[in-house]
């Protein structure tokens, strides 16, 4: 699929028609981060505003390649991703928000070190699929879309989908010596 035909690659936050607000990012051990979220109506004004807020908050956060609703204290199945500026990126879909996202298929596990704005003092080695197919809805139109992601974008998607399931990367680390103290946060 060319990017012009791909509704996810074409999508921008301007499609939402509302201005995003920069919200405070919640840190562990806030219980909202350990609470599985519920599916929401992707066309509702609340979800549209939340989508815009997530993108706005991601934009002002250095190094942030994704942000899930629980990270701004909202227990909804919504997250945004934008890996386009990251040095590890290969192909990508730019900025997008997915609502009620689910993993359809995954393969080719690879280990990588992850950090998280909600766990600013630690990083950890996590094995994730590097080939991924995810479905979800675009906020606003509610259009159902399928995202084929690989490499770093696939990792980011799995990290955000985990947030929506009430899981942190700490719940996926490879072992007792796979967590590391971070001296400085970007």
């Amino acid at each position: 699929m060319s990017l012009l035909d791909d509704p996810v690659a074409r999508w921008t936050e301007l499609d939402l028609g509302v201005a995003g607000r920069v919200l405070d990012v919640v840190r562990a051990p806030d219980p909202v981060l350990s609470t599985p979220t519920s599916a929401v109506d992707p066309t509702s004004p609340e979800v549209v505003q939340l989508a815009a807020d997530l993108v706005a908050t991601m934009r002002v956060s250095p190094g942030c390649v994704g942000l899930a609703a629980p990270q701004v204290g909202v227990s909804s199945m919504v997250f945004c991703v934008d890996v386009s500026q990251h040095p590890k990126v290969r192909d990508h879909h730019g900025t997008f928000v997915l609502v009620n996202a689910e993993v359809v298929s995954s393969s080719r596990n690879e280990k990588g070190r992850e950090g998280c704005m909600s766990v600013p003092d630690l990083t950890g080695d996590v094995k994730r699929a590097s080939r991924l197919v995810v479905t979800g809805h675009l906020p606003g139109t509610g259009e159902r879309v399928e995202v084929e992601a690989n490499a770093f974008e696939a990792r980011a998607l799995q990290h955000e989908i985990d947030h929506c399931a009430g899981l942190l990367f700490l719940d996926r680390v490879a072992g007792a010596h796979a967590v590391y103290a971070r001296q400085t946060y970007l």
Binding site: S34, V119, L168, D171, A174, G175, H177, A178
Partner: protein, 174 residues
């Protein structure tokens, strides 16, 4: 002279060069380092070594005594029996517990592991701001009801207001 095995601990105020100094002195005694681990615990240096050689506990302690003279480090030396690690007759798992810091998290959760005969083979805990994190590697006996243990751990963790997850270790055979 016969070879004996010695467990050595070095604990105290961290500074550059402790490992270099310790191992140089042990090498001077001809002690062969068989296993070692070192970490910083809230900034305090903590190292454990097991070494084999012909030196006695007394000789090793005397060789390491200069490390302790400024009062910032303590050293213990103890001969230990040679134990061959038995092949694990179980399955390897990783347990993560994280949440708000409070006393008793580790003891309550690992009691569930002990109750089913699970053996913790590696464990780290970290306190990062308000977040308390425990990650343990566990061998579970083959006949353990793993799903039941997962439920029991989640219930205990939930009672403490923390989250817990138990998952099998994934090994890639290459």
């Amino acid at each position: 002279m016969s070879q004996t095995l010695h467990a050595i601990t070095v604990l105290g105020h961290d500074r550059p060069g402790i490992i270099a100094e310790t191992t140089e002195r042990l090498a001077g005694l001809g002690l062969n380092l068989e296993d070692s681990t070192m970490t910083l615990l809230r900034g305090h240096f903590a190292m454990m070594l097991v070494g084999s050689g012909t030196a006695s506990d007394t000789e090793i302690a005397a060789a390491l005594e200069p490390l302790t003279t400024d009062g910032t480090l303590s050293v213990t030396v103890r001969e230990v029996p040679v134990e061959d690690a038995p092949a694990a007759a179980g399955t390897p798992w990783v347990l993560t517990v994280h949440g708000g810091d409070r006393a008793g998290i580790v003891s309550a959760v690992v009691a569930e592991v002990a109750r089913v005969g699970g053996n913790i083979t590696d464990l780290t805990t970290r306190l990062a701001g308000d977040l308390y994190l425990l990650i343990a590697e566990i061998d579970l006996p083959l006949d353990v009801d793993q799903a039941g243990l997962d439920v029991a751990i989640r219930e205990v963790a939930g009672g403490l207001g923390v989250g817990a997850s138990l998952r099998p270790v994934e090994t890639d055979e290459l």
